[in-house]
Amino acid sequence: MNLIFSQEDLKFKEEVKDFIIKNLDKNTQKKIIDGHHLSKDDLVNWQKKLHEKGWMAPNWPKEYGGTGWSITQRYIFDEECGAAAAPSALPFGVTMVAPVIIKFGTDLQKSKYLPRILSSDDWWCQGYSEPGSGSDLASLSTKAEKVEGGYIINGTKTWTTLAQHADMMFILVRTNSDCKPQEGISFMLLDMKAPGVSVKPIITLDGGHEVNMVYLENVKVPDENLIFEENKGWTVAKYLLGHERTSIAAVSRSKKALSKVREIAKLNINGNSTLNEDSRFMDKVTKCDVRLQALEYAELKSISDDVKGIPPGPEASMLKIRGSEIQQEITELVLEASGYYANPYQPNIMDTGNNEPLIGPDWSSAAAPKYFNTRKTTIYGGSNEIQKNILAKMVLEL
């Protein structure tokens, strides 16, 4: 066991750095550093660059277009992307539905969807939560009725991230109501342009439009879009959940954000001193850093297991809990550092074509909205309370 980089690894690191410098759009990078929302184009442009280089899918097997990287290379890639404030690829396609298609999909499903995920020609969204089914996901009631050649879907999905841009949705639907809730669910692929699909924005606390309600009214899904078997959707969903594990902790991103806090603390913005000299503030930064170091090691262990093909265990829940808390803590620190300049509300200030002058420093221009918005991390992806339930049951065996 060691954490040493070989000469080859160091060469790879240089290659990643060089790639990012040459390909990352400066405005996109600045939005990430200052905590603003990215546009669809910001993200797709970056993903297309990754695809050209063959780096879109570090988590896929090589035969499907994955990178075939070692654990060290994956670590280096994440680290460098985080450090350079490069976007993370949208997870719904490449990280979430793709491993499911690879594991359970038919040849037709693989050949139809995987290349379009790699090339970012399809934008995917996730149809899980419903107004009455959040933490209790298995109670979902969107109904799929079997008809000739496929299914007719009726129901409402909610908190659907970036569904306004989506071409496809992977969706959990109820195909049987006369059994245990988990046993009557199926996993399907739904065309967002099909008749009967409508998307309504949900505006979040920061004023942003990230999530949506998706209404499904007599939407036809053909048989060929069923994944695995009818009523086996819960098995598929559990498999997917395990494969979310490596991205969920957001370690490299948090490391970058925390180093930014340390930079801010060096500025002369504190009356007659810097925040650096304020041990009350700096102790909070350091405490956060300590937890982040522990999380980094835990994440590496998890990636290492993944590379060796060891199936994920409930430790993914620990990564999610701490990773989400740390993301929130960092936004708190930036908010605190901002002082009065956390107050001005300036949405869309970073959008292309906007020439209005910024109020206050760049780094504080989204501090409060970012703090508000980041409350979501302990709620989404299975709330932290649900993660604790999982750990209590699976690890503590209570």
């Binding site: 901002s338 300049y341 956390a342 109020i359 508000f372």
Partner: protein
Amino acid sequence: MDLSLNEDQELIKASVEKFIMESYDSECRRKTIKNNLGSDDKIWQQFAELGWLGLPFLEKDGGFGGDSMDLNILMESFGKGLVVEPYISTVILSGSILSLCPEGEIRNKIISNIICGKNKVSFAFAEPTSRYNLKDVSTTAEVDNNKWVLNGHKSVVFGAGQSDFIIVSARTKGERFDEEGISLFVIEKDNEGLYIQDYPTVDGFKAAEVKLNNVQLPSNQLISTENKAISIINHSINKTLLAVAAEASGIMSKMYEMTLEYIKTRKQFGIPIGKFQAIQHRTVEMLILSDEMNSLASMAALKADSEEALKSIYASKIHIGIGGRKLGQEAIQLHGGMGVTEEMDIGQYFKRITMLDTFLGNSDYYLGAYSKLS
């Protein structure tokens, strides 16, 4: 000792609660925010008629001579109703400054115009890098031909874009961080050389960057004693903190109530989530945090004129930052996804309690200040 409200206080409480209940619902508040004018004229006029605009002013200045507890009662209800009208910036903060300045024609006129609802006033003190240090004043005022000439940049001045007058702290003597040498000036909104860059704040209020570029003022617009304004500023800030603490108390108790209601009605796994012990304990913790805020705000109001005033004022401000933040985060978490939507009112309260920590010094700042008190 008697901790129950007297008859007058019961009357204030009843009148403001009635107003919030009947005339200030969430829709009305959201409308005011949307119109982007900082307040609703009709509502502001009602404030005047109900006597709230004159509440903290002395009777000799035409006010009602309300004490700190009267103010506490009013502000707690404003917190529950999440009032966005610029009451704190005009009546409390600017009002305190004016009240403490020596009597004079301009001072007296502005005070009576505040009381009748005719004028709004803002106090511009913070500067881009001053953070919470009130002595960090780089804005200058120099005499030229019997006039004062002011230059500088004041940041995040609440209500400035909608105010008829801006009170500005400026340096008339000494170096940037000196306590001595700070003076207060009143500037009319359309004075030449005054630039106001108005914007909404993240919690539904209005603020502005105020830039002074050779603003010329006649000598009577220096309203404090020359060079000696720091104690007026400190007193006014402390008085404002009493109001802020009461507002926070109202916000926190309302957030607790809304969350309790939510966990009783939101069902998952076939039962209301409030049936789960993990949720119950967290909601009880919210009750305690809210109760602590109420205690600290009340204690600060009662001790406002005693030797221990600063201790209890600072304590209440510290709790806004620590307890208020914790309660706010828990309220959102227990509301789940609904908690992060713009549509649900809980988020509106969350934003306000969050931003109150940044106002007039955050919890870290007052932890330091408290520790230095003997």
